[in-house]
Amino acid sequence: MNIVVLVKQVPDTAAERTLSGTDHTLDREGADLVLDEINERAAEEALTLKETAGAEVTVVSMGPDSALDAIRTVLAMGADRGIHVRDDRLRGADVVTTAKVLAAAVRTVGDVGLVLAGNATTDGQASAVPAAVADLLGLPQLTQVRELRVTAGRVRAERETEHGEATLDAPLPALVSVTEKINEPRYPSFKGIMAARKKPVETVGLDDLFPDADAVGFLVTRTRVVEAVPRPARTAGVRVTDDGSADRQVADYLIARKLL
């Protein structure tokens, strides 16, 4: 079985993020870039399956040159090969274009049993990407998963959302997105780091994935930013030090604001 892990490089979550003034895309130059931490857990799940059930793990990332670092990190953790989708035309790609490109990259890997992704990346809003990729590949989606079992051609998963928990079941092939609670990712070992340099990474562009790119029209801009402005920072309002009456003061405040 082949497992494909979708990963993304993101600015370190502890850092402040800014939008580039020219095209309203995330300014990645000023920030430390790291492998997204939820993606790292998706990779860990893939590698656990590789060890327990036997599988070849391909890591796919779409992004500029630096995305190769994210791929190398997963190769150092133990993945077998990488596909780096790099094309200047993909800068600022929307959810649908991103999903189409990732789905096309997955299709270049034969006999895929499982596509693994994070349930969200920490740099954007588009947790919709894994679902969109599943749709384009015609796969069942088992998303927001905190526990995963793969047996005899089926995948079972425990899903958790703000509305509760559910058990999901689907035949392979399938797409799974994991939450940050699914596992503790391993550190790459030194042997892994050294071996990663020798593992194959294929760099592909849009013309490789879509020979008739303009014809299929995936490069259309589906959304346009009209305006992007920094949001005024919130400022502190009333501040009290509790002298035994803070509870009453908060209640008065809530009533005054019609929140009670």
């Binding site: 920490t122 998303t143 703000e162 509305h163 009333v238 501040r239 009290v240 509870d247 908060v250």
Partner: protein, 321 residues
């Protein structure tokens, strides 16, 4: 007027509050058409409340297996109606489920998708607050029917009774090779509490709560206010509260009318998930806690004194009013 599709959130018996918010937003753009996906008979139970909130038509995608599969029945229904009526927009709630449906639908329709939208204007320009509340971005969908996931709490529901046409949709059966089956469901341990992302009031606890037992005071205040319970990543990592209640960059983003932070210092990752809340109240022992710098009402004090006191005040004043 052109139609605007609204995917109805419901629990099988009642329409969720978030749907009324979607209907209010939809009325700015055109005639709201509610799409109900559920088991047979559901539309009959929900139709009246939908019409009362302005749904001009109710499209019933009923089937015995509608609840048995994740996401795809709703996607199939919305795709079907969209291709039929060419709506000016498709609105869903930006809950976890809603965003997944929106992602799949946009991919199928090759359409522009905007998620976590907090406002739309009649011209279709949608406002998003991105990067944890640090930027306001206004965007327009320029290709395909706009698929818009609205962040719960962004619109005020309004009653606007109309006559709603009801119509049944015949959908093809779900292909079990392409959909995940839901074999068991367990509702959130919050019981009757509203869902975290759509609650009007969220009371969250952080590391300052000190332990799983300490969350009782958080829950009691949430229940007195009819709100949901949240937790910071520090509290979740420490095992005080389950992960699905985590608010923040890697958890849920919320923007309720009222957010009460108890014992949460306000790490940047937490603020990213809640700083679009309308009103923020924070209680923290540490006067230097960053959360106090953005709270509308900040209390420097012990949450174990202030929160139970506030619970009593709220209960008493509710009873008195």
């Amino acid at each position: 007027m052109p139609e605007v599709l609204v995917l109805v959130d419901h629990d099988g018996e009642r329409v969720h509050h978030t749907t009324y918010e979607l209907l209010a937003a939809a009325r700015r753009l055109g005639d709201p058409a509610a799409v109900v996906v559920g088991t047979p008979g559901i539309t009959g139970r929900l139709g009246e409340s939908l019409a009362r909130h302005g749904a001009r038509s109710v499209q019933a995608a009923e089937s015995a297996e509608a609840d048995e599969f994740l996401a795809t029945p709703a996607v199939d229904a919305l795709e079907h109606v969209t291709r039929e009526v060419s709506p000016v927009a498709v609105l869903v709630s930006a809950t976890t489920d809603g965003k997944e449906v929106a992602g799949r639908l946009a991919a199928r329709l090759d359409a522009g998708l905007l998620t976590d939208v907090v406002d739309v204007d009649p011209s279709g320009v949608a406002t998003q607050v991105v990067f944890g509340g640090s930027y306001i971005v206004r965007s327009l969908v320029t290709h395909g029917p706009p698929v818009i996931a609205l962040r719960p709490g962004s619109f005020e529901p309004e009653e606007c009774p109309v006559e709603a046409r009801q119509r049944g949709l015949a959908l093809p059966p779900v292909d079990p090779a392409r959909s995940a089956r839901v074999t068991a469901r367990r509702t959130a341990l919050g019981g009757d509490r509203p869902g975290l992302t759509e609650a009007a009031v969220v009371v969250s606890g952080g590391r300052g709560v000190g332990g799983a037992d300490g969350f009782k005071v958080v829950e009691e205040l949430a229940d007195a206010l009819g709100g949901a319970v949240g937790a910071s990543r520090a509290a979740v990592d420490a095992g005080y509260y389950p992960h699905q209640y985590q608010v923040g960059q890697t958890g849920k983003s919320v923007s309720p009318q009222l957010y009460i932070a108890l014992g949460i210092s306000g790490a940047i990752q937490h603020l990213a998930g809640m700083q679009t809340s309308k009103t923020i109240v924070a209680v923290n022992k540490d006067p230097e806690a960053p959360i106090l710098d953005l709270a509308d009402f900040g209390v420097v004090g012990d949450l174990f004194t202030v929160a139970p006191g506030l619970t009593r005040e709220v209960t008493a004043r509710r009873a008195g009013s």
